[in-house]
Subunit: 239 residues, 2 copies
DNA sequence: CGCCTCCTTGAGTAGCTTCAAATTATGTGG
DNA sequence: CCACATAATTTGAAGCTACTCAAGGAGGCG
């Protein structure tokens, strides 16, 4: 039995989780760098991330680094959009050691046929992904490196906090600077310099697989961060 | 009675359109610059775009220009994601004179309760939007100005062609250069220079409200364009 | 015609990239 | 546990891309 993770799946109530979780008996594991699914694969199941970090990547030629177009945290579906779409436009890559619960599309199909409200909740969860995509478009199009990286780290903080229920001043952080670069549209060299700037501003520091947040308010200000676009289940934000 | 537009709604079959269209008796019009709905508004209906162009914009302070995070073409829903989300994270702005068909969420709710397949089709249409968002993240993060604008124009061409069924070498184009700038994360000055480059390369030219495509293959190459991410209904592409 | 908006062009510069090398972390086998 | 190999980060210097500021031109509309 899969115990209910926090985070995105908090959009589901206990009854809804009670219906969904029995369909996710098969658990799986991936190592850092494993490709969970390839662009264009025909998928017959989706995965709920239980632990670790997964990226959606768009490959760009063999020489260039691929772009990270999305990041998934524990409690989020990694590829729920494959249920209606069947084939994805991007790769799904495990960035850390990850653990996932698998749900077959056939099972999901039958379950959702009998529960319109649950279907709408899953729809909503994919729409929150889309809202985050829009924010990434804005961030990578309209923000300068310092604000961009700060905002990225704010989002990491917020989603990680939601996933592991409870705000901390130091969180596990297993992204490499080149991962941040791929997600923010910068070079890893410039990410390095930008993280130094954030450190020297007294906002936060990344080292030893930990993100230490020294001044959350300052970091939010520097990244012009407003969490509304994350549509957090239990938050009382404006949206 | 709303006659079925081409484009995104081609994902629906005739029967499904037959069920949906009677709910869209109210038609509306907007002028260029009209704000169709504001960020955070509580929405009780969604709009299908019949003619014109609509942008989803994230406002960024009062001084700076707002970022265009998405563009909607005829045959696409402008804010279908408001059905599950209720409140949106962005403004919806009419860029041209537009005509829309309105569908109340209550009506949609009842219709979808009785038709799981139709519900899944509408879900799918919002997921295509999300796929396009991901492409925009990639484009604005990883492409240089020339490729970026070329790719943007390729997308415009493809979606416009789908909306008005039939490939043409000259299409109506009512975006200003500052709109292209807001959508691509460039300045309007640089868009002007970039369009000149594309013109001098013999790819395409924008003038008098028309986009003239002189060398579609060359434009696609310059923008590294692959339409798979658009999940066109009747296309036989790999995805 | 005069006004306003949009587009174009030029000059100077900031921000980020590229390339390359040095330094520090991480992991592995003996 | 150390020595080594590999991967990740940091720093420096030089260059290019795109931005900013500013002025001039073109077109549309009252």
């Amino acid at each position: 039995m899969t115990s209910k993770p926090s985070g995105m799946v908090d959009h589901l109530n206990a009854e809804q989780w009670g219906k969904l979780s029995p369909l996710m008996m098969h658990h799986g594991h991936f190592a850092p760098g494993d490709i969970v699914s390839h662009r264009g694969d025909l998928l017959d199941h989706s995965l709920l991330l239980l632990d670790g970090l997964v990226a959606r990547k768009v490959p760009r030629g063999q020489r260039a680094r691929s772009t990270v177009v999305a990041l998934q945290f524990p409690g989020e579906f990694v590829d729920l959009h494959a249920f209606p779409l069947k084939k994805l436009d991007h790769d799904v890559v495990s960035l850390t050691g990850t653990s996932v619960a698998r749900i077959a599309h056939d099972d999901l199909h039958h379950l959702l046929n009998g529960d319109v409200e649950l279907a709408r909740k899953l729809w909503l969860m994919t729409l929150v992904d889309a809202s985050i995509h829009r924010h990434w478009v804005m961030r990578n199009s309209a923000m300068r490196a310092l604000a961009r990286v700060a905002n990225f780290l704010c989002e990491y903080d917020a989603r990680m906090t939601a996933a592991y229920a409870g705000e901390r001043d130091s969180l596990p952080f297993s992204l490499r600077q080149s991962d941040i670069a791929d997600a923010t549209g910068l070079t890893s060299v410039h990410v390095s310099r930008t993280l130094r700037d954030l450190r020297e501003h007294g906002c936060c520091s990344v080292s030893g697989g930990q993100l230490a947040i020294h001044d959350r308010a300052g970091l939010h200000k520097m990244g012009m961060f407003d969490a509304a676009y994350l549509y957090m289940p239990q938050s009382g934000t404006a949206l």
